[in-house]
């Protein structure tokens, strides 16, 4: 468990630090029975078994000498296995100017390996070398251009990617070489082999993966007989991925960005996130920003690949018809052959968010349907106060929640209320939303939120409602633990947020949450200085020109010369 930043909770802090030390020690010490063999493979290892009786599951953990960790939950009802491979890497590890690079990395590691996805490996190698040499020239040229300019406008055209004639010619040559490389490729090979083997994947595209602020995951559900395919391909991807089709992937990722982030509501959401914090990278969008797409380059992406996609920074969760004894030889043969790497730099905790001096407010000036969003920052998973927020969100939201009740009591027409809390290892947020029929309804809805939150702070919680919510959460857990893919995914998720065993402590703490605990966290976190309010209006005052780019202040050309 990683330490949390909470000066008023010293005892839990010390406790968690001690536990953290124990966990780190566990990671670095080979498990009982592990033996180093000459070729780097582990041998004679025994799984460590944990029975989570109250939660109804039994888990086995294997940790290879190189730090690669596998958690297995046996479920023999169907002869399939859900595999969820997680890396502790995400947008929080990115540097300025390369936001979104982890998501991009996720795409480019799915373009084959040294032995997969290519017809003539020798030709591929020659093209790869030439492309890298050209890109080095390209980056040098771009650095010269960029060092001569500074962006002085308030809003610049993020669509205009700065360039020079020499950059253009180098880029054209790189594109030409990539086209030649394309002719030598087998596209979608790994995905198609998974498909052929019976793989069920989240996406119907060759990248069965997701990236977020603090995670990258690759997930496939396979017939148990075909599980070796996953070990063979994912171990290869971890160490031998060849970043082919770099430029095509750049525009594919850009399309994803445009689809999601450049919708009108997407821009509001992005702005509200940006207003929520000062320095912590959790407030940046994991997709990066428009111009970041131009700056992703091989050296920076390879740096992330080599630092973070290493066995000691990954966990594989397997749920299904398989045993630890069956997995061990596969793990040793494939992932066990990959050397351990230096401990990756954390990225997650570099920036401590200073306490804000007051509520933050964003009244959006582009016309949108009227909406109210009220957020409160919450601690991350692994912090002892976090489990109660799952109940707080449920108490507040829905047609029978405390927000709807407060609206009734105030005589205010109530729209649908939603309340939810994000799950992250880093600090995150409780978010309350409502959509009134007209702009005029917004101030009243803010009063409703304040009234409902005040009731929570005073501990005015209906015990029956809390009992029912506990029952709902237990049911949700029962559904999750009997769904291979969901359970495997959640185990991996807890591990990147904190540690996979935190799933147990989190769920048990949530189950034990009382009205008093809810009142305590509400009084502590649901306070005005920790609040972020966002509103959208159909007729904002003053109305900004409806636009999708830099806004009414935008002016002038965007080339570097313009701002020298």
């Amino acid at each position: 468990m990683r330490p949390f930043r909470d000066s008023s909770a010293l005892i839990p802090l010390l406790a968690s630090l001690l536990l953290g030390a124990a966990v780190v020690g566990f990671r670095e010490t080979p498990p009982p029975g592990a033996v180093n063999s000459q070729d780097g493979r582990s041998a004679g290892m025994s799984p460590v078994t944990e029975e989570w009786e109250a939660l109804g599951i039994t888990l086995d953990e294997l940790v290879l000498d190189n730090g690669f960790r596998i958690v297995i939950v046996e479920d023999h009802r169907v002869p399939r296995v859900a595999a969820s491979l997680w890396y502790r890497v995400g947008a929080l590890q990115e540097g300025p100017g390369e936001h979104g690079a982890t998501h991009f990395l996720e795409h480019v590691i799915h373009q084959g390996t040294t032995t997969i996805g290519v017809r003539d490996p020798e030709l591929d190698r020659r093209l790869l070398e030439e492309i890298h040499e050209l890109e080095a020239e390209f980056l040098a040229e771009r650095n010269i251009a960029r060092n001569q300019v500074r962006e002085r406008r308030i809003f610049f055209d993020e669509e205009a990617w700065p360039t020079t004639p020499r950059m253009d010619s180098l880029q054209a040559r790189i594109l030409e070489l990539e086209e030649r490389q394309s002719e030598n490729r087998h596209f979608w090979q790994e995905y198609n082999w998974y498909r052929e083997a019976g793989g069920i994947m989240r996406h119907t595209d060759p990248v069965p993966a997701n990236t977020g602020n603090e995670l990258m995951r690759i997930e496939v559900d396979l017939p148990r007989e075909r599980l070796e395919l996953l070990f063979r391909m994912e171990a290869d991807r971890m160490v031998n991925a060849v970043l082919r089709g770099f430029e095509a992937q750049r525009t594919i990722v850009l399309e994803q960005f445009l689809n999601i982030n450049r919708s009108e509501t997407g821009r509001f959401s992005e702005a509200l996130n940006g207003a929520s914090g000062i320095v912590h990278p959790i407030y940046l969008h994991p997709g990066g920003h428009m111009r970041d797409h131009a700056f992703w380059n091989r050296p920076s992406v390879i740096r992330m690949y080599e630092e973070y996609m290493v066995p000691n920074n990954a966990i594989l969760a397997l749920v299904g018809a398989v045993t630890a004894e069956e997995i061990l030889p596969l793990a040793q043969e494939y992932f066990g052959r990959i050397p351990a790497a230096p401990e990756p730099s954390p990225g997650m905790d570099w920036e401590a968010e200073p306490p804000p001096g007051g509520a933050i407010r964003l009244d959006w000036h582009e016309p949108l349907s009227p909406s109210l969003t009220v957020r409160y920052r919450t601690p991350g998973v692994g912090h002892p106060d976090r489990p109660a927020f799952d109940l707080v969100a449920r108490l507040l939201g829905g047609s029978d929640g405390m927000l709807a009740a407060a609206a009734r009591d105030l005589g205010i027409p109530s729209p649908g209320w939603s309340a939810g809390v994000s799950r992250n290892g880093s600090p995150t947020r409780l978010s309350i939303q409502a959509r009134p029929p007209s702009d005029a309804g917004l101030p009243a809805l803010e009063r409703v939120v304040e009234a409902a939150v005040e009731r929570l702070r005073r501990g005015e919680v209906d015990e029956d409602a809390l009992t029912r919510i506990h029952e709902e959460l237990r049911f949700q857990w029962d559904r999750l633990r009997t769904h291979r893919g969901e359970l495997a995914s959640d185990l991996g998720y807890f591990h990147v947020m904190d540690e996979w065993r935190t799933m147990r402590t989190f769920l048990e703490a949530r189950e034990a949450t009382t009205v008093e605990e809810i009142q305590r966290v509400a009084a502590r976190y649901l306070v005005p200085w920790n609040r972020i309010v966002g509103t959208t209006r159909s007729a904002p005052e003053p109305a900004a020109e409806k636009h999708l780019t830099g806004g009414p202040l935008q002016a002038g050309p965007a080339a570097p010369e313009a701002s020298r």
Binding site: G56, R77, V78, P79, R80, T114, T115, I116, G117, R119, P121, E122, R125, L128, E159, L175, H186, F187, W188, Q189, E190, W193, R195, E196, A197, G198, G199, I200, D205, P206, P223, E225, R226, L229, R232, M233, D236, V239, N240, G245, A248, T251, I252, E255, L258, N259, R262, R298, P299, I302, E306, R337, I338, A341, R468, F475, D478, R479, T482, L548
Partner: protein
């Protein structure tokens, strides 16, 4: 109670499925023993790829296609032992799983009871039966913890309820009561017009439908038919699937109790499903329809009306869809980075025809090339030279059988639902259970034949939704294909007809 005579899955199929499937899977040799497409690495031990510090891991792992993997031993839950029929004629599949803390109940009704759902342009509106069930269930289940979903797909209205095992009885009672008595308020329908579905993409597909005066049109809803006008369902119209932590005998007894005295009334003749439209496009639909819509990108649909797929062609069409979807995405996405996805959508194969189309989106300069390369792939699929390779066949067949088919029969909860929906749709499980055999029997020439029959480049219309002037002016630096050239391409195909 006895097993209903209409459930014909049966005795002959049970054990036979397994053998047939295993034999069939033996032929899926893309993974097991297919010739590797490339072997070896250009890199030696200790070398690093350009820009890398970490050396390449030189290994002796078998190529993925050379791995020696065992046969897949999946056997779907046996529907014959799960069948049950009440005295009143309600049919059920009960698949107990003593380890499961959850019970899933799925009731399925052929949507001939919900005729307006088949009307053109009504996908923005919930059928009356769906509304009725949704409202009724919400009231009846009250504070019972669980999840409820009501929807319509492929000509079947489904009610899905999942509850903790201790609530199984009230959940079944509520589902059956909701089916017996339509909710009175559901007749009123919505007071606000529904939002157009799908944003720019939805609009592109709607415009394509409008151009061909057929198929779906998300933003042109028609008025809902009142639920009560449908009359009450009869128990024989309902198939229920129950999977999870229940005891079979208890469920059988509860089904008898909760259906006692339930008679219902058969649907009036006018409520039966409308027959599929005859050859239905307008005499000369537009080649290229351009619709102004602000944004950073454009949405596009390229398609034509498609007649219902003949049952004998279903498996070959499914293989064609798999192969073509991959080809489209390699051509537009992976090779050229024009779009995040180009998706081939075929009409619901149980819905009596509709629109075959490719839907995609992209930056302005990508619109022309996406349309061009999509057109090329659609056309190539019909030609002998474009017949699927052995590798493509094996991958498509593996995907359809080992992934999709297994996925819908993945354990008691999923299988109970699938069996119920299938029986409501076809009055038989034969088609479902024979699906692996049918898919594995498809060969490349079958795929070419169905492509020639169902893909009709001469009928294609392209719709582009976006800032049209910007789309018109934009040219992709590597593949500068303009909208006018798309129109020429489509016109040429039409002229050659």
């Amino acid at each position: 109670m006895t097993t209903g005579p209409t459930i014909r899955t049966a005795q002959a199929r049970g054990p036979g499925i397994h053998l047939t499937l295993l034999l069939g899977l033996g032929s899926l040799t893309g993974i097991v023993g297919c010739n590797p497409t490339s072997e070896g690495s250009a890199w030696q031990a200790g070398e690093a790829m350009p820009g890398h510090n970490r050396p390449v891991l030189v290994h002796d792992w078998p190529h993925p296609t050379a791995l020696s993997l065992p046969e897949v031993g999946f056997i779907p839950p046996d529907p014959t032992t799960a069948e049950f029929e009440t005295a009143g004629g309600l049919r059920a599949f009960i698949l107990p799983d003593p380890e499961d803390p959850v019970v899933a109940i799925t009731a399925a009704v052929a949507s001939t009871r919900s005729p307006e759902s088949r009307e053109e342009g009504n996908t923005g509106e919930r059928p009356a039966l769906v509304r009725s069930l949704q409202e009724s269930l919400g009231e009846r289940l009250g504070t019972v913890v669980g999840q409820v979903g009501v929807g319509e797909e492929g000509g079947v209205v489904t009610v899905r309820v999942e509850v903790p095992t201790r609530h199984w009885r009230i959940a079944i009672e509520s589902v059956l009561a909701a089916l017996r008595e339509p909710h009175p308020h559901a007749t009123e329908g919505p007071t606000l017009p529904p939002e157009p579905a799908g944003g720019g993409m939805g609009r592109a597909v709607a415009e394509l439908a409008r151009t061909h005066a057929r198929g779906v049109s998300p933003d042109t809803p028609t008025g809902p038919a009142p639920a009560t006008a449908m009359g009450a369902l009869t128990p024989a119209e309902v198939v229920i699937g129950i999977g999870g932590g229940v005891e079979r005998r208890d469920v059988e007894s509860a089904l008898e109790t909760f259906t006692e005295g339930w008679e219902g009334s058969p649907p009036a003749p006018s409520m039966a499903a409308a027959p599929p439209e005859a050859e239905g496009s307008t005499p000369d639909p537009e080649l290229l329809r351009l619709v102004e819509h602000p944004g950073f990108m454009a949405w596009l649909a390229l398609g034509h009306p498609m007649d219902p797929v003949a049952p004998v062609d279903e498996a070959a069409v499914a293989v064609m869809e798999e192969v073509l979807n991959i080809r489209l995405n390699i051509a537009t996405r992976e090779m050229r980075g024009l779009t995040n996805r180009a998706l081939l959508v075929l009409p619901d194969r149980y819905g009596g025809g509709g629109l075959l189309h490719v839907r995609s989106s992209g930056r302005f300069e990508s619109v022309g090339p996406i349309l061009r390369y999509s057109w090329e792939e659609l056309t190539r699929m019909r030609e002998e030279s474009g017949a699927p390779t052995a590798e493509e066949m094996s991958q498509a067949q593996g995907g359809l059988v080992l992934s999709r088919w297994q996925g819908v029969l993945d354990g008691p909860r999923a299988a109970a639902e699938t069996y119920a929906v299938e029986l409501a749709r076809h009055d038989s499980l034969d088609r479902l259970l024979a699906w692996p055999e049918a898919v594995l029997a498809v060969d490349p020439s079958d795929v070419t034949a169905v492509a020639a029959a169902y893909l009709q480049p001469e009928r294609l219309t392209a719709v582009v939704v976006g800032p049209i002037e910007e789309v018109r002016e934009a040219r992709h630096p590597q593949w500068p294909f303009a909208l006018d050239e798309v129109a020429e391409l489509l016109e040429g195909a039409r002229a050659r007809q």
